[in-house]
Structure formats: structure tokens, C-alpha cells
């Protein structure tokens, strides 16, 4: 087994071991030993991930899952693929184990990067939790769940087939459920947990359908095979398969949208986003780890993994959903007063950015933002956790204010995270967000140009640049607002302010994440890893293709997955104008990239300064200016509408839960009772009536004719009566003896005869 794969496997299994230990010995270990055990295992996990990264970068050769003559793995060379047969499902084309559905490992640069990020954030969150949860009486249980989560999340990321991803997808959902409902005695927490899981299940419904369609066509859902077989999906036409059938583009789109539905649930995309703000009922470290950095990004990760098999229509759908989500999240975040809800909606908005990027073909941009966002959003949540502890478990910013004097480390690190998410140059968020906006600009320019060339209106495509750019200003504004209201100005609640204190246990995690939030963009080499990841996948798939059909076709087949990155129905590059001699050497997409870059410099670069400056000005003295603005009725209405999350919750409750599902359930229950059971009981009554009539006839007309039946019924009744009176033993004995002896005797007789 190649070393990186082995190390990552150990890294995955260590938290499972921690789960086992804590499950059976957690109570005995107690507080804080249970937490330390959990932390130690995750630290081991992190160490393994880093070691794997080192070996990965140097690369190597050989090992299972590698094809003959191409046994090279490592950064930029090729992935490690290790399929394991799991379920017998019969037929299928191009499989590692014919007749079986596989699970298994898939390690490439993205996997390695994700492992480092997840284990690091998990480690930091574990450390932080030892302090944060110190006074909870269910301290060991918390770490038990946390360990299970780490295992599930790592299992998801290392998964080489959609089936394995789905398995761990559900397991992270379970952990999320258990941790949101950690304080299950609180009704709101229990409700939020159920809501999160069920909403995710709506997404899984799509995931299952997507998987079903793939399985039905290919008999296989392993990632490299999907990439190799369906890599031309991005061109928008039907895909010819090895067995001579064609995968229709419509079905491919449904498949892509179905799988994306799963991602919509997990990554809280509109319209399945409503569970995430409620998930803030869970302990704050959980929000940092699960509902900001890792699990909610799993949806983005999934879309990243299936990216090469998405059709243009599916990508367009993803871009539209991403665009809607990032807007809704940012707008709602503008007016929230609960610090965690601000962060929750901000997470929704940022996840929207990632989805938009993937939809527009900016694979690196989307995954890059996923990784940088993990650090600064985890930092924001842990900072919020520190604030909440300092404030005696108060989350309303209405009662904060001026806290920087009391908790300076939190204030500074929080500010660093705000700068990062706002896209301040040299902070990590700047690089990833800039890349997304640049690619969005490039896409819009390219799409608009080609639409114009075809005589169509181009206005719609520009929205994919205008909207995220505008929201970048909002992001800077609402995050700075959050910081101002919490840390700046005069304390609005003197009692709370007087008691506020920072806990030393929480320093280290905050500082560590702050450093990462600064250097994550340029100095950790994330971008390189992502570019390598694309190359590895392409190379592996080209080999697979050559193995499967290249020889027969007589030529080398090239993997086209990542190259067909542009969505929508764009014509070939050649058909674009060739009038400008200066840029003729460049391809159309290169020209678009350059234009995208200009657009970002022109419109988005200063978003951080404008947004944060404005927020600083408005909230310099607390709520005063904002309250003045709210005197205007329309502003108040809009504010209330946004404050309640645009009433999505109420709408879903009334229409879906109460209206359709519970309504249908009540109807079914009634139908069951009245109609089906009514028919059964009615039949019985009629039969009894008839037998009564028959009895009457029997007695008065043809007396004695059906005495046998009567006797039988009588005997039956007598037996039942004797059952009540204790003579049942005798009855049972007779019955048993008769039947048993009869049967056994017959058998033995027959056997001997």
C-alpha cells in the first residue's frame, strides 16, 4: 500500500478508535481526561495527514490500484486508487470488480489538502472545546460525538466512489444531528437537530436518484471510472458508452442536478438552506468545525469531485443556485442580532460563492475558497464562542459592545478573520475570492461576447459577475458590523461587560487559526495542490480510457473533463471574432481571463475597504445610526423581513410540513381506519350476519343440516372461554401433542419406509 494512502487511512481510523474508547470508557475518563484522549487521537490524525502530505509531495510508484506501466503517484503525477468490492449488484461496464459495487480509497492532491485542513481544524476545535465545554456534565459524550464526526468526515474525503461518499455523507449528517441536539433537553435544540437531518434527507433523495441513474447506465459509481466514461458530458451532447448505449444529455443533466441536490442539502444552498441557522443551537465549537469549516463544505467538495461529469445545463443550474444562495445569505446576515446567526448566514453566503464558482467552471476557485474559508470561518466561530463564554452564554449582540477592552485576543483574532472574509489584500480570503470573481468576470465576458456573436441578448450572463461583486461589498459590511457591535463602542450591558473575561485555554486555537487565516492564501501552496489535483485526475482518466477503449479505437483518447469547464451553450472558441490583431495569439478564453482580471480590479478590489469603512462609520456608536434609519417604515419592513430569514421557515412549515406531509399522513391514517379497516370489519359483520341468518335458517328450516359447522364454532368459543379460565394448559397440551405426534410419526414412518 503506498505510504500516503496508508497514512491517510490511519489518519481516518484514529478518530474511530477514539470514538470506541470514549464510547465505552468516556464516563470513567471524565472531565477533562476524555477531552484530552479525543484531542490526542485527533493530533495523531493530524500528524499522519501532514506526514502523508510530505510523502505525497515527493511522490512514488507502485502499489495496488495503479495500472501497469503507469504506476506513478504523487503531486501532479497521478492519484492512488484502491477499490474494494462491497455490494453484489450484477452487471455493469468498466469496473474494477465486475458485478460488484465498490467502495474504496482515492487519494489525490485535493484529498491530501482536505485531510490537512480537516484534521487541523478538528485539532484546534478539540483544544478549544476542552475549555469551552469544561462545565458541561456531558463532557465525555461531546468528545465521543466529535471523534465520530472526525472519522466520518475523513472517510468522506478519502472515498473513491459515490457510494462511499454517500455512506459517510450520512454519517456526518448523523454526527451533525447528534451535536446540534447535544443539549437535547432544550426543545429548540431537538427541533433544530431533526430539521437539519430531514432537510439533508431531501437532498439525499436527489443524491440517490443521481446515483441510481449513474448505476443504471454504468453499473458503477467509482469516481475515476465516472470521470473516464462520462468526461465528455461537459460538451453537452449524448455520451457514447462502451456497451454501445448512449447516455442522453437530458438524463445526464438530471443526474447532475440530483447529485447537486445532495450538495444543496449538505451545503445549505437555497432553498434547502434553512437548517443551518437553526443548527447554531449546537455548542459553538461544533458550529465552527461542522457547520462552518468541514461538513457544510462537503457539498462543495462533492460537486468538485463530480465536476468533470456535469453537463452545461447542470452547471448553469448550480451557478444560478449558488448566485441566489450567496445573495440571500448576505442580505439576511445584514440585520441579524445573534452573533452566531450572522456567522451562519455568512457561511451560507460563502458556500454560495463556492457553488457559483464551480457552476461557472472555476474549479480551482471554488475549492480554493473552500479551504481558505475553513480557516477564517472556524476562527470566526471560535471567536464567537470565546465571546459567548465571556458574556455568560449570551449571544445577542444587542447586549454586547466595547468588549475589546475585556477580551483583546479574541477581538484582534476576530478582526483578522473579518479582514480575511472581507477580501482584504494579503489575507487568505482575498486570494480565493479574487479568483472566484475573476473567473466570474471572465465567464460573463466570454459568455456575453459569444451570445452577442450569435445575435442573442447578453444581459443575463453579466449577473454572474455583478451579483457576487455587489455581495462582496455586503460581506465586508455585515462582517465589520458584527465586529463593531461586539467589540467596539460603549458596553450596552454593564453587568455582562463587568463579568466578561477571556479564558486562557482558548487563546492558542484562536491565534493558530488567525495565523492560518493570514497565510492560507499565498503561502501554504493550496493553489498549487489544486492545480496538481486536476492534472492527476486528467492523467489517470486518460490512462483508464486508453486501457478501456484506446487500443480498439486505434488512437489515444484524451480526458476532456476539466477542459470543458465553461458551462452553458457556448460555441467553439474559433467562432469568436478575429478582428483584433493584437490579441489574436491568445485564445478566446485567455482573453476572457484577462478581461475578468480587469473587471475585478475595477469593481471588486476595493470592496473590503468600502464595506468595512461604511460599517465602521454606521456602527461607530452602536445602534444609534441604524435605529435612525429604521424609523423609515419601508426600511423597517425590509429589516423585519430579512431578520426573519425572509420567512422561509414559516413558509416551509405551513406548506410542506403542516400542509402536505402531515396532511397526507392524516389522510392515510384516516383511510386506513375508515376505508380499509372499514371494509375488513364490514366484511366480517356481513359474514356474521349471514351466518346468523344461516343459523336461523339452520335452526328453524333445515334443523341439523349444518350441525357440524355449528359444533365447530361452539368448540371454538369454548376453547376461547377456557383460555380465560385457565384450562388453556390442557387445551394446548392436546393440540400440541396431537399435531406434533402426528407429524413426527408420519415423518419417521415415511423415512423408515
Amino acid at each position: 500500500m503506498p505510504l500516503p494512502a496508508l497514512l491517510l487511512l490511519i489518519s481516518t481510523l484514529l478518530p474511530l478508535a477514539a470514538f470506541g474508547v470514549l464510547l465505552f470508557a468516556g464516563r470513567r475518563l471524565g472531565n477533562p481526561l476524555a477531552g484530552m484522549v479525543g484531542t490526542a487521537f485527533v493530533a495523531g490524525s493530524f500528524a499522519c495527514a501532514i506526514a502523508a502530505m510530505i510523502f505525497w509531495l515527493s511522490g512514488g510508484a507502485g502499489g495496488p490500484g495503479q495500472m501497469a506501466g503507469a504506476a506513478e503517484w504523487g503531486a501532479g503525477k497521478g492519484p492512488i486508487v484502491m477499490p474494494i468490492a462491497w455490494l453484489p449488484t450484477g452487471g455493469g461496464i468498466s469496473q474494477d470488480h465486475p458485478g460488484y459495487l465498490d467502495v474504496g480509497l482515492y487519494v489525490d492532491s485535493l484529498t491530501v489538502a482536505m485531510f490537512s485542513m480537516i484534521t487541523l481544524v478538528a485539532l484546534v476545535v478539540h483544544l478549544f472545546s476542552i475549555g469551552y465545554m469544561a462545565h458541561d456534565r456531558n463532557f465525555p459524550r461531546f468528545f465521543t460525538y466529535l471523534s465520530l464526526f472526525c472519522f466520518s468526515m475523513l472517510g468522506l474525503v478519502i472515498g473513491g466512489t459515490l457510494l462511499q461518499i454517500f455512506v459517510f455523507w450520512e454519517l456526518v449528517g448523523l454526527c451533525s444531528y447528534l451535536l446540534i441536539g447535544f443539549w437535547h433537553e432544550k426543545r429548540s435544540a431537538a427541533n433544530a437537530a431533526t430539521k437539519a437531518f430531514v432537510t439533508n434527507r431531501i437532498g439525499d433523495f436527489g443524491f440517490l436518484i443521481g446515483m441510481g441513474i449513474l448505476f443504471y447506465h454504468l453499473g458503477n459509481v467509482s469516481l475515476p471510472h465516472l470521470h473516464a466514461m462520462l468526461h465528455t458530458a461537459g460538451l453537452g451532447g449524448p455520451v457514447s458508452l462502451a456497451d454501445g448505449t448512449k447516455f442522453a444529455p437530458g438524463l445526464l443533466t438530471i443526474m447532475g442536478v440530483g447529485l447537486f441536490m445532495g450538495a444543496m442539502g449538505k451545503s445549505a444552498q437555497f432553498p434547502l438552506h434553512t437548517w443551518l441557522p437553526d443548527a447554531m443551537e449546537g455548542p459553538t465549537p461544533v458550529s465552527a468545525l461542522i457547520h462552518a469549516a468541514t461538513m457544510v463544505a462537503a457539498g462543495v467538495y462533492l460537486v468538485g469531485r463530480i465536476f468533470p461529469i456535469l453537463t452545461p445545463d447542470a452547471k448553469l443550474f448550480i451557478a444560478i443556485i449558488g448566485c441566489a444562495t450567496l445573495t440571500i445569505g448576505a442580505l439576511v446576515a445584514l440585520v441579524q442580532s445573534d452573533i452566531k446567526r450572522v456567522l451562519a448566514y455568512s457561511t451560507i453566503s460563502q458556500l454560495g460563492y463556492m457553488m457559483l464558482a464551480l457552476g461557472l467552471g472555476s474549479w480551482v476557485g471554488g475549492m480554493f475558497h473552500l479551504l481558505t474559508h475553513a480557516f477564517f470561518k472556524a476562527l470566526l466561530f471560535l471567536g464567537a464562542g470565546s465571546v459567548i463564554v465571556a458574556a455568560g452564554h449570551e449571544q445577542e449582540m444587542v447586549r454586547f459592545g466595547g468588549l475589546w477592552r475585556k477580551i483583546p485576543v479574541t477581538a484582534v483574532t476576530f478582526l483578522i478573520a473579518v479582514l480575511a472574509i472581507a477580501g482584504t489584500p494579503f489575507f487568505s480570503g482575498f486570494y480565493s475570492k479574487e479568483m472566484i470573481l475573476r473567473d466570474a468576470g471572465a465567464f460573463s465576458a466570454y459568455a456575453a461576447q459569444s451570445a452577442l456573436n450569435h445575435g442573442q441578448s447578453a444581459g443575463g450572463y453579466w449577473l454572474f459577475f455583478i451579483v457576487p461583486t455587489a455581495v462582496a461589498y455586503l460581506t465586508a459590511f455585515y462582517m465589520m458590523r458584527c465586529w463593531m457591535l461586539t467589540f467596539w463602542g460603549k458596553p450596552r450591558d454593564q453587568k455582562l461587560y463587568a463579568h466578561a473575561r477571556e479564558s486562557a485555554v482558548m487563546y492558542v486555537p484562536l491565534v493558530l487559526l488567525a495565523v492560518l487565516s493570514i497565510i492560507g492564501g499565498k503561502f501554504l501552496g493550496i493553489e498549487d495542490l489544486l492545480n496538481w489535483s486536476m492534472r492527476e485526475s486528467s492523467q489517470y482518466c486518460t490512462q483508464l480510457l486508453a486501457k478501456d477503449s484506446g487500443a480498439a479505437a486505434g488512437g489515444e483518447m484524451k480526458f476532456a473533463g476539466f477542459a470543458t469547464a465553461w458551462p452553458a451553450h457556448l460555441p467553439n472558441e474559433e467562432s469568436l471574432g478575429e478582428d483584433e490583431p493584437v490579441v489574436r495569439e491568445r485564445t478566446a478564453s485567455q482573453r476572457a481571463q484577462i478581461e475578468g482580471h480587469h473587471l475585478v480590479l475595477q469593481f471588486a478590489f476595493w470592496a473590503f475597504a468600502v464595506g468595512m469603512g461604511l460599517a465602521g462609520a454606521v456602527y461607530w456608536k452602536g445602534y444609534a445610526v441604524a435605529e435612525m434609519l429604521l424609523r423609515i417604515p419601508p426600511a423597517r419592513w425590509i429589516r423585519n423581513w430579512l431578520y426573519r430569514g425572509m420567512y422561509f421557515d414559516e413558509l416551509y412549515q405551513v406548506v410542506w410540513v403542516d400542509g402536505i406531509i402531515l396532511g397526507l399522513a392524516a389522510i392515510c391514517r384516516g383511510f386506513d381506519r375508515r376505508v380499509i379497516d372499514g371494509a375488513v370489519n364490514g366484511t366480517a359483520a356481513v359474514t356474521r350476519g349471514f351466518s346468523g341468518l344461516a343459523g336461523w335458517i339452520d335452526r328453524w328450516v333445515v334443523d341439523g343440516m349444518v350441525n357440524g359447522a355449528g359444533e365447530l364454532a361452539h368448540g371454538f368459543g369454548a376453547a376461547m372461554r377456557s383460555a380465560q379460565s385457565g384450562r388453556i394448559r390442557l387445551y394446548v397440551m392436546v393440540l400440541m401433542a396431537a399435531v406434533a405426534l402426528g407429524l413426527a410419526g408420519a415423518v419417521l414412518m415415511a423415512l423408515s419406509g
Binding site: 437531518f197 391514517r669 386506513d672 376461547m720 408420519a746 423415512l751 419406509g753
Partner: protein, 544 residues
């Protein structure tokens, strides 16, 4: 020794519980009754474990569904019983019955431990209980249609009394409803049994079925099938026979709209009987579908697939919706059984390797999960003496260990990966999509079926949302929320209860993580042969 086991183990398995029942009748006091019964179930379970010694999952040619594919019927014991009708005492085991036999002895053992607190007429209870086990094992092991029918009916009687005597307030109603419902099905099965036999009497030219046969494996053989077709068992007659046998099995499964006996029977039955009812008795229906209805009437099965498929999907959705609307904890679990057994029916209807494997797996996994669910309900009923969902709440704080076990059961039931419920569900669903592929058995009937298959598959997928909905809502209502004063004094699960819950939990996890090692190794060859047989028969009938 192995030779002796090969010949006699199945017969011993079937009648060991009866012997125990007779012993129980001679036991003097309650304790010796209990220990005798427990000893018998342990002995039976141990005997069934001996199957691992003798069972070979990969046997080449021989008595089985399709020559040359392995997975044949083994350990066959055959003796003439009623000579004039060629009725035999014929028992044997293959991949279809192997997991169910083990499930039965396993669940019976646990149900026996769960019966420890039965106070009323222990002797009669235990005797009937053991007698029921004979009926169950006989059903799963007999390969003679007549013998199957005898055991199928035999299991009915003890169940009737166990519900009717040891049941709750409306036990008479429930017991009679159960009895009459099942009897209606049985009459249909009896007609099929006699009718099929009469057709086999008309077969000429095949030596080993001369004078008619009840042998279920022979009846499915391609040459016999062809001869039966020539003898007139085709078209409308075959469809009628198929439907009548399906009636019997779908009542047992039970499927909508033949299911209303189940909630009543469950609500009234004592906990261990509920466990057996849900875990094993329902499987007799599913087993009948795969052992009798499909192989003996393949042509009808293939032409009536849509009806069966719709019944399966409606059961999944309707059962889930009904479960959501229940106020009684046990009724809710009963309806969830209806919903989950719908997957078995759907899997049969779709007739792809994945769906059939999934359906067979579902039977075993549902056996484990439902036994656990009903035991979980029983535990809380023993303490609270009611089962109204709205009156529960906050049990997680009072009984954390109990809540832990319950959570495993609930999540296994809603199909969480890593636990056994997921495997069956996902395989049936994926297998349903597989059925739309142009080379599947169903698609032989024409490309027009594509849309219907896809629609059924998608609607069935919708079930996963509903299941999650009602299961989690139940957890929320029963275990979460603030602690209630009236339940504060409830004791945590006892040692005996843990003794029942632990093996079930372990099995739920093992089957969920390593399904191949613990299940498919035993079934795969037989399923391949079974599936290959149906594919062959499809051609046989196409040429007829």
C-alpha cells in the same frame, strides 16, 4: 459426523423446538419451564450454527435452481410421505433459506430471553412459543409445496393463541383478525397448491415428475416449466395462480392494502411475540414470494410486475405516511414494518440482481431491526404502562443507555449507512434503476416500461425522506425535550434487557459494515442461479 449432520441436521432443527415444547409441558414449576424453554432455544440456535460446518455456498451441479451455477440446495432429506399424491417429506437448504433460518433461531433465542417476565400461564406460553419455532423453521426448510403449506399453517395456530391469550385489552379482536386475514390467504395458497399439482399430473415425458410432484425446485426447472406450459398452466390460469399465491404472501408480508391486521396484532401482542411476528413471521411472506410465486409462475410474475411494483411502492410511501400519523408508539413501529417490507416487494418486482439481493438482505436486516424496535418499545411500556407518544419526553436524560440502544435501532431503521437497514434499502433502490436498463429482465417486455420503472424507482426514493421524518420525530418526542417528573424514577435498562439488545446491536452493525462477509457470501450463488433461472424461463416462455 458430517455425513450424519448432512442427512439429519435440518430435521433435527425443525423438531428440536417441538421436543422442547413437550418437555416444557412436563416441567414442574415456572423456573424449570423457563429454563427448559431457554435451553431449547439455545440448543436450536447452536444446531443452526452447525450449518456453518455443513453449508457450502459454492457447489457446482446438483439439485438447485440452475445447473452449473453453484448455489444448489444442500443437506436434502427426502422421504415419501403420502404416496398416492407423491407428497414428500422434503427438506433442504440453499442461499434463499440459509439466512432466514439463522435469523429465526437467533431471534427466537432472544425473544425467549425477552419472555422472562411473562407471568401468566408460563407453561402454555413457552410450549406454544417453541411450537411456533417449529412451524417457522419448517416453513423455511421445506421444499415440498404441501409440506411448506402444512408448516405455513402450523405457525398460524400458536400465534393465534399467543396473541389471543397473552395479549393486551383488545386481544380477541386482534387475534381473530390476524387469523382470518391469514386464513384467507391460505385458502388461496391451498387452491394454487392443488391446482399446480393437478397440472403436473398431466406432464408426460419427464421421468422424475411422473404422476405429479410438489417439489418446489423441480417445479421451477425449465423443462418442467415448459411442460407445464404445454399442459395448460399459462396465460390466465398461471396469472390467477400467481395472484392467489401472492395474495397469501402479501397478506403475510404485509403489503398495502392487505396490512391492517398487523398494527392491531402488534399492539395487542406481548413484546416477545411482537418481536417474532415482525422479525420472522413477516419474512415467511417474503420468502414465499422468492421460493414459490416467482420461480413457479415466472411468466405471470413477469407480466404482472407493474402490479407488484406498485404494491411495493405504495406500501413504502403509504406505510411511512401512516406511521407518521400514529399516536401509539407500537403502532408506529408496526406501520414502519409495512413501509420497510415494501422494499422487499419492490425488489421482487424489479427482478434485477441488485434488487433481489437487496430484498433478501432487507428481510434479514428488517428482522434484526424490527425485533430491536419492538423490544425497545416493550422496555418503555413495561415501565410507563402506556405507549402514547405525546405523553413521553426527556427519556434521554433519565435512561441514557436505553436511549443509546434505541438510537441505534431507530437509525438502523431509517437506513443510516453503517447499520444494516441501509444496505437493503440502497440495493433495492439502485436495483430498481437497474431494471430500466435495456438488458434487464423487465425490459424484455418492451421499451415502453422504461418510464414506469423510473417512476417507481424515484417514488420509492422519496420514502427515505418520510422515513427519516417520522423516525426522528419519534426520537424527538420520546427521548428529547425536558425531563418529565413522572418518568424521573424509571430504572435504566436491566442486565436481561441489555442481554437482548446487545446481540441485535452487534448484528445490525456487522451486517451494515460487512454485508458481503455476513450475508452475501451465503446467498450470492443461489441468487445468481435463481436469477439465471428466471432469465432462462423468460426465454422458455418467449419461445412457447
Amino acid at each position: 459426523m458430517v455425513e450424519f449432520l448432512n442427512n439429519w441436521l435440518l430435521t433435527i432443527l425443525i423438531f428440536l423446538p417441538t421436543a422442547g415444547a413437550i418437555l416444557v409441558l412436563f416441567a414442574r414449576d415456572r423456573d424449570s419451564v423457563r429454563w427448559t424453554a431457554l435451553g431449547t432455544t439455545i440448543a436450536t440456535f447452536a444446531a443452526s450454527l452447525l450449518l456453518f460446518v455443513t453449508f457450502k455456498w459454492d457447489v457446482g451441479n446438483g439439485y438447485g435452481y440452475l445447473e452449473g451455477t453453484g448455489g444448489v440446495v444442500q443437506m436434502v432429506q427426502r422421504a415419501s410421505w403420502i404416496k398416492s399424491f407423491n407428497i414428500e417429506y422434503l427438506v433442504g437448504i440453499d442461499g434463499l433459506s440459509f439466512p432466514l433460518v439463522l435469523l429465526s433461531t437467533f431471534i427466537c433465542l432472544l425473544a425467549c430471553i425477552a419472555s422472562w417476565n411473562i407471568q401468566k400461564m408460563t407453561k402454555g406460553y413457552m410450549a406454544l412459543f417453541l411450537f411456533l419455532e417449529t412451524g417457522i423453521l419448517g416453513t423455511f426448510l421445506s421444499l415440498d409445496f404441501f409440506l411448506f403449506y402444512v408448516f405455513f399453517e402450523l405457525s398460524l395456530l400458536p400465534m393465534y393463541f399467543l396473541i389471543g391469550i397473552w395479549g393486551g385489552p383488545r386481544k380477541e379482536y386482534a387475534a381473530i383478525k390476524f387469523f382470518l386475514y391469514t386464513l384467507v390467504g391460505s385458502i388461496g395458497l391451498l387452491i394454487v397448491l392443488i391446482g399446480t399439482y393437478l397440472f403436473t399430473r398431466n406432464i408426460t415425458g419427464i421421468a422424475d415428475v411422473a404422476g405429479g410432484t410438489f417439489d418446489l425446485i423441480k417445479l421451477a426447472r425449465p423443462d418442467v416449466q415448459k411442460a407445464l406450459g404445454t399442459a395448460g398452466l399459462v396465460g390466465g390460469v398461471a396469472k390467477t395462480f400467481f395472484l392467489l399465491s401472492m395474495l397469501a404472501f402479501l397478506i403475510k408480508v404485509p403489503s398495502v392494502p392487505l396490512h391492517t391486521w398487523l398494527p392491531d396484532a402488534h399492539v395487542e401482542a406481548p413484546t416477545p411475540i411482537s418481536m417474532i411476528l415482525a422479525a420472522i413471521l413477516l419474512k415467511m411472506g417474503g420468502y414465499g414470494i422468492f421460493r414459490i410465486a416467482y420461480p413457479v409462475f415466472p411468466q405471470a410474475a413477469m407480466s404482472l410486475w407493474l402490479l407488484v411494483g406498485i404494491i411495493g411502492v405504495v406500501s413504502i410511501i403509504y406505510g411511512a405516511l401512516c406511521a407518521m400519523a400514529q399516536r401509539d408508539f407500537k403502532r408506529l413501529v408496526a406501520y414502519s414494518s409495512v413501509s420497510h417490507m415494501g422494499f422487499v416487494v419492490l425488489g421482487a418486482a424489479m427482478m434485477t440482481p441488485a434488487a433481489v439481493n437487496g430484498a433478501l438482505f432487507m428481510m434479514v436486516s428488517h428482522g434484526i431491526i424490527s425485533a430491536m424496535m419492538f423490544f425497545v418499545v416493550g422496555i418503555i411500556y413495561d415501565r410507563a404502562h402506556h405507549r402514547e407518544l405525546s405523553r413521553f419526553g426527556g427519556l434521554a436524560s433519565t435512561m441514557p443507555v436505553y436511549t443509546g440502544f434505541s438510537t441505534v435501532a431507530f437509525f438502523a431503521n431509517l437506513g443510516l449507512p453503517g447499520l444494516c437497514g441501509f444496505i437493503g434499502e440502497v440495493m433495492v433502490l439502485l436495483g430498481s434503476f437497474q431494471a430500466a436498463k435495456s438488458d434487464s429482465l423487465l425490459m424484455l417486455g418492451g421499451p415502453g416500461r422504461h418510464t414506469a420503472i423510473m417512476t417507481l424507482a424515484v417514488v420509492a426514493c422519496f420514502g427515505v425522506i418520510l422515513t427519516a421524518g417520522y423516525m426522528l420525530w419519534t426520537i424527538q418526542r420520546v427521548y428529547f425535550g425536558p425531563q418529565r417528573p413522572e418518568y424521573k424514577s424509571f430504572p435504566e435498562v436491566t442486565q436481561r434487557e441489555i442481554l437482548v439488545l446487545t446481540p441485535l446491536t452487534v448484528m445490525a452493525i456487522l451486517l451494515g459494515i460487512l454485508p458481503a462477509l455476513f450475508f452475501f457470501v451465503f446467498t450470492d450463488h443461489t441468487v445468481k442461479a435463481w436469477y439465471g433461472l428466471l432469465a432462462r424461463l423468460a426465454q422458455t416462455y418467449a419461445g412457447l
